[in-house]
Amino acid sequence: MHLDVLIFGSAAVVAKADRVRVRLGDAPTLADVARVMAEQHPDLAFALTSPRFAVNHAFANMDTRIAPTDEVALITLVGGG
């Protein structure tokens, strides 16, 4: 399956984009997403060593399984306030 992962902050600056496409096997977990994303987008590897993802607008554990219709976002270091 293909998944568009939303990216923000330093990841978006480096990738010069607000999302990247990842090609995955069936029923991947977030851990699979992180591993494959670092392989296919090595410029984002810096943001994937200890990543946090949100699935459908809520933080999710790395063993969460992803469906093609899920909205997945890489939540890099935030900077509100």
């Binding site: 923000f8 902050g9 976002a73 890099t76 270091l77 935030v78 509100g80």
Partner: protein, 157 residues
């Protein structure tokens, strides 16, 4: 008045000025007034986060490196909606419960906020000052960890 704390959290476009704040808070103003006049509140605390000219921590250059001190004219806040608003509200509820607060209002900007303008307002009402101060510190720490908002600098020419 019941015992639930009064909570309000929102992300709004642009700086937080008195007009924007009044507009947003008008619906809860009577309830907030009732809390503050209840005789239970001994402390109110208000924090405003303002954009500084030499703000640099947490901002990133195209290289991914943290910017050196270099004057800026504004910060642009990107909010991942609706997650950011939900996280802000959930954080507000958690902090109010953990610290036994009577009211907590949190407002955060998205978009462009110029130097000298306010991007974040947190107000807390509680029985004593200790829980207001501790709750405020905890709120801001967790905001900077768990609310998906990113800022990028607009450099001065």
């Amino acid at each position: 008045m019941d015992d639930l704390p009064l909570i309000f959290a929102a992300i709004l476009s642009g700086p937080i000025d008195p007009a924007a704040e009044t507009r947003l808070l008008t619906p809860i103003a009577p309830a907030l007034g009732a809390v503050n006049l209840s005789g239970r509140v001994g402390a109110t605390l208000r924090f405003e986060g303002i954009v500084r000219r030499n703000e640099a921590s947490g901002t990133v250059e195209a290289s991914g490196a943290t910017a050196a001190f270099r004057p800026l004219t504004a910060l642009v806040y990107q909010s991942y909606d609706p997650m950011a608003g939900r996280q802000l509200e959930s954080l507000a509820r958690d902090i109010a419960r953990e610290f036994g607060l009577l009211a907590l209002v949190a407002l955060h900007s998205r978009g462009r906020v110029r130097v000298g303008e306010t991007s974040f307002v947190l107000t807390i009402s509680s029985a004593h000052r200790a829980e207001a101060l501790a709750g405020m510190t905890a709120f801001i720490d967790r905001l900077k960890r768990d609310v998906p908002i990113w800022k990028s600098p607009v450099w001065a020419e």
